[in-house]
């Protein structure tokens, strides 16, 4: 199994979720994170004190999938999160050794 982690623009979350639903994937876990990268931040001014804020609000989305689904999920995320502008984010793929559903104790792809 794979854990697919995507860092995306917050307002794209709905679109990505819809795209994943179409693949029949309804489970995922989402966090609010701050991203640093090539995309420029912004300036804030408070009574003459200027701060350059480099971090940008991003959403981190994690989906555990079976090997077979991985490719399709990645495609779906790219397709739905892409705006063509810098800062669209990244997808990280790593191996998952085990998945367990707490309620039932099911393991492996059954637990996803």
């Amino acid at each position: 199994m794979k854990m697919i982690t995507a860092i995306i623009k917050p307002f794209k979350l709905e679109d990505v979720r819809d795209a994943l639903s179409e693949l029949g994937l309804s489970g995922m876990t989402v966090e609010e994170v701050k991203g640093f990268g090539r995309q420029k931040g912004h300036t804030e001014l408070y009574r003459g004190a200027e701060y350059v804020i480099d971090f940008l609000p991003k959403v981190k989305l994690q989906v555990a999938v079976s090997e077979e689904q991985a490719e399709a999920v990645i495609e779906a995320i790219i397709g739905s999160a892409n705006t063509g502008k810098i800062g669209d984010g990244k997808i990280f793929v790593s191996a998952l050794e085990q998945v367990i559903r707490i309620r039932t104790g099911e393991t492996g792809t059954d637990a996803i």
């Binding site: 804030e44 001014l45 408070y46 009574r47 003459g48 004190a49 701060y51 804020i53």
Partner: protein, 432 residues
């Protein structure tokens, strides 16, 4: 009315000698209200305004400072402050401090009268001024002062700085006698608080990381809500300083409102021009500048002059803030001096100009008794500014040094990193 008031002060009649033995219920009604409004300025007004500006880890410490000061200054005012400032009935008031006949409000009953209102009301109305003035200083040493040191310093300060200066100007003392026009506290409140804040900032040093680490306000919604409360409460502050429900109170309220509006807009304009965008923090800061600046002048000037005063306040305090922060790099953390101090000086001086009765649409309510020119009035105003500024600076410095030796002014570095809320109060502001 203002003239009457100055006359009363000059004659040392207010409240030293009650000139009427009957209260006016309408004046009483208004000053009861005004007292509530001025308390409202400090809690929750000022405390929210300030607390929103600090970092989340220090939010409660600011509330705590404002709240504890409210309580402690009240008891000190009751015990000693009031009598130092205003003395007691039937006693000729001296130039420097009041007589000690009203310690613990000893001479005060339900039937005592000061001017046209009950003496207990005059005492509690003035008490709210004695609360907000030390509370304003909090902005100078925010995010790094020890709570015990803060209480000690402010207690001493109330008794040896605020109360005497209050006597000089409003209690029948030398500045009032000289004809200083300071209707609601340009010198007594704003200059004293702001100078103390600046001295405190200098004595204590900058916050750790100041200038390198970003220290943006943690909750501007709180600040702007507090700003609205300050504006509303200021109607009681300036309008109530007429001590009556009359045309003078009405005019004070009107000019206060116009100056706040003009100050807010001119600061906003400056940001728009210089930075390209206007900010919420900018507009509310301009509002405070406009309010602080009109305060001494609110019994002296008319509406058109109030707009000029507010407008110049917004611009001048804007530049002063940038100067202190960017050039002098002084960490007067919430900008008390450039806003209240510069505004207080400016307003006290401009009161001397725009009180003049012959400036057409910019005319005011006249010079003080015995003064007949702008030059004459201005020099009295300048003396008032210089005296209160210098006295406050010197005495505040001495007090701070003493407290630093005895208790220690600052928390240690690690505690400053963790934040005062946890370190000093074992609490956190938010657990959302």
């Amino acid at each position: 009315m203002k003239i009457i008031r100055y006359a009363l002060l000059t004659l040392g009649l207010l409240p030293g000698l009650a000139f009427a033995d009957e209260i006016n219920p309408a004046d009483t009604a208004w000053i009861l209200t005004a007292t509530a409004l001025v308390l409202f300025m400090t809690i929750p007004g000022l405390s929210m305004f300030y607390a929103g500006l600090v970092r989340s880890k220090n939010v409660l410490s600011v509330f705590m400072q404002c709240f504890a000061l409210t309580c402690l200054m009240s008891l000190l005012w009751f015990a000693f402050g009031y009598t130092i400032a205003f003395g007691s009935e039937g006693v000729e008031q001296g130039k420097w401090i009041g007589d000690f006949g009203n310690m613990f409000f000893a001479g005060m009953t339900m039937d005592s009268v000061s001017g046209t209102i009950p003496t207990p009301l005059f005492a509690v109305f003035q008490m709210t001024f004695a609360i907000i003035t030390p509370a304003l200083i909090v902005g100078g040493f925010a995010e790094r002062m020890r709570f015990s040191a803060m209480l000690t310093f402010c207690s001493l300060w109330l008794l040896v700085v605020y109360a005497p200066i209050c006597h000089w100007v409003w209690g029948g003392g030398w500045l009032g006698q000289m004809g200083l026009q300071d209707f609601a506290g340009g010198t007594v409140v704003h200059i004293t608080a702001a100078v103390a804040a600046l001295v405190a900032a200098l004595v204590m040093g900058n916050r750790k990381g100041y200038g390198t680490v970003a220290m943006p306000p943690h909750n501007l919604t709180m600040t702007v809500a507090g700003a609205g409360m300050l504006w509303v409460g200021w109607f009681g502050f300036n309008g109530g300083s007429a001590l009556a429900a009359n045309g003078a109170a009405a005019m004070a309220l009107l000019v206060t409102h116009l100056s706040a509006s003009a100050g807010a807009l001119s600061w906003m304009m400056m940001e728009w021009i210089k930075h390209g965008k206007p900010s919420v923090l900018g507009i509310v800061t301009g509002m405070v500048a406009g309010l602080g600046t009109i305060t001494p002048a609110s019994g002296s000037v008319g509406p058109a002059a109030a707009v000029v005063i507010g407008f110049s306040a917004g611009i001048i305090c804007y530049y002063a803030t940038n100067l202190l922060k960017q050039k002098l790099k002084i960490d007067d953390s919430l900008d008390v001096f450039p806003v209240h101090g510069v505004g207080g000086v400016l307003g006290t001086l401009l009161a001397g100009v725009f009180c003049a009765p012959s400036l057409g649409i910019f005319s005011g309510n006249g010079f003080s008794e015995g003064i007949s020119s702008i030059g004459g009035q201005l020099s009295v105003q300048a003396i008032g500014v210089a005296a209160t500024f210098t006295y406050t600076a010197v005495v505040s410095f001495i007090l701070l040094k003493i407290v630093d030796k005895v208790i220690g002014l600052r928390v240690d570095e690690d505690d400053e990193t963790v934040g005062l809320d946890l370190v000093l109060h074992d609490e956190r502001g938010y657990d959302l």
